[in-house]
Symmetry: C2
Subunit: 322 residues, 2 copies
């Protein structure tokens, strides 16, 4: 299934498994890429540049197809040696980078010199346009429905996707609220060149999280997520569990970031991922979980999404438009 | 353009101009219906059952095509004689009713006995399923992006539309965040049988509001709306002007409904509609205003949306799916 996105990135289907902290490992990224979509390793899931290098090599051993590395800037409080990470990415022969958080402008010369394609994640049309101006190749635009950080403007993908696509010349990828062939067909209709999914890929055989968490995603409905950190202007959408509700309570009672930090540390999310106890910590999940009904392999999932989107377009939509 | 919705309602294109207080007059409803879509009069815009009867007769004089009457239950504080309104609707030969607010269950026997098709507006899957059980014919599901009352769950249409469509047997209409052929094609891809639009129809030649307000809708972007009344669990999405910002301030400062009522009375919205001064009161508008770029006639608008949706489906999407 060809779009400007697949042509630019050299992939077979216009689907990206966006970078996910702790989940974007070589196994998952390679499984996604081997199925013809774009898998993405997350650089910050690795504790050192050396470990990132090893993870990239592992992914290269698992797939001959293109994959990307996500590098998120400015969201961690401890200082990070981004130059060392980027040096590893460039020297390892990675061809695609996904940037998120702050503007990738400082790193663009390195990426461009190495011929790397840059996918930048944005949450507003204004930031997407600014990123286009500094030379990124693709914008992955995150709507209100997305897991993690939807920004502070709360614009649903139904409006944000076409508003972004009509404002840019480079390909736009729809992110947030999409989990199936219906969503892929809708995103293409809205002017996007592909879709990015996170929550849907959590519930796959290859996602390195406990089966109990995958099952919770299968069971969740569209009301099972919650926004936290709004008062810190660092809004995050997470699975609505007792931890998220406690954080919301502390925020509402006037608590500061330190007051909530104990509830939301990455270690606690990791505990949930690894033990299957969804109450063990804050767990990132998006609204699209409502549309997730099973735990297939990445290959089964991607084949099905493409096949469903094709059949919606050639069957249902063609009949209505006839 | 035929779907289960057009067949059920006897209309030519799967587009509804949803009931809008003060705007859903005979002129606008007839213009929409004459263009092959479904226009809707709002019963509560008329001060008495007699005036509603006269407005229905006026609409019948202006169009031979089907139109609907909206009746919204339980949102006004003054007691209303709904039986008298429904009596007028039924005896005037109206064939389609749009219900909103509380459940239409008490009125269903009257509507059914008269062979009237009932479109019920809902904001959650649970309420949509309940309405299907009591026999409504169509659900018009309002996503988070919509003008007016999106409910308290904040689920974007991208997730709410397919979640609703997969849960019901009756046709589902996508409402909120849609203003063009891209949105119509996307809604059909997501499993809906048509679209409902309000904000887009405000910016038409026939909408009975001042040209200055239409121009403000043309100029607005996706960040130009605001949610108010959240603390009263009666959330409304309105145009972000100084009045809406004042209401938000009063709410944040702990004000009660009486404190904000002076800023948001219907009379003040009417003043904005009639004078063109967008700062004159609270003005209902949805996020889809970001996608509105002109003020066409209803006929031009509807022809264009259908033509654009067809060309997206037969051109862009068919090529991608090939």
């Amino acid at each position: 299934m060809n779009t400007r996105l697949t042509e630019l990135l050299g992939i077979e289907v216009p689907i990206i498994c966006g970078g996910m902290m702790r989940v974007g490992t070589a196994e998952l990224a390679a499984a996604v890429s081997n199925a013809g979509a774009l898998g993405i390793l997350t650089a910050l899931s690795q504790p050192t540049p050396e470990r990132l290098k090893a993870e990239i090599q592992k992914c290269q051993a698992l797939t001959d197809k293109p994959f990307g590395v996500n590098i998120t800037v400015g969201v961690v409080t401890t200082p990070l040696d981004y130059s060392a990470l980027i040096d590893v990415i460039v020297k390892s022969g990675v061809r695609i980078v996904e940037t998120a958080g702050r503007s990738p402008e400082p790193f663009m010369p390195y990426f461009k010199a190495a011929g790397i394609k840059v996918i930048h994640k944005a949450v507003t049309v204004r930031h997407a346009m600014a990123a286009e101006r500094i030379g990124v190749d693709v914008i992955s635009i995150d709507g209100f429905e997305c897991a993690g950080h939807p920004g502070e403007q709360d614009v649903g993908g139904l409006v944000l996707f076409p508003a972004t696509a009509q404002s840019l010349r480079i390909p736009v990828v729809a992110s947030g609220g999409i989990a199936d062939g219906r969503g892929l067909a809708a995103a293409l209709a809205l002017g996007c060149e592909g879709v990015n999914m996170g929550t849907r890929f959590l519930a796959t055989q290859e996602a390195p999280i406990h089966a109990g968490i995958k099952q919770k995603i299968v069971e969740m409905d569209e009301n099972q997520t919650q926004l936290i950190f709004r008062k810190f202007r660092n809004t995050a959408r997470v699975y609505k569990n007792s931890v998220a509700e406690k954080v919301a309570e502390i925020e509402a009672a006037g608590g500061d970031f330190k007051d909530v930090h104990t509830y939301v540390s990455g270690e606690k999310q990791e505990e949930a991922w690894s033990t299957g106890n969804i109450e063990a910590g804050m767990v990132t999940a998006g609204m699209s979980g409502a549309l997730v009904k099973d735990v297939p392999s990445c290959q089964e999932l991607i084949d099905r999404i493409v096949s469903d989107a094709r059949s919606i377009i050639k069957g249902r939509l063609a009949a209505i438009a006839a």
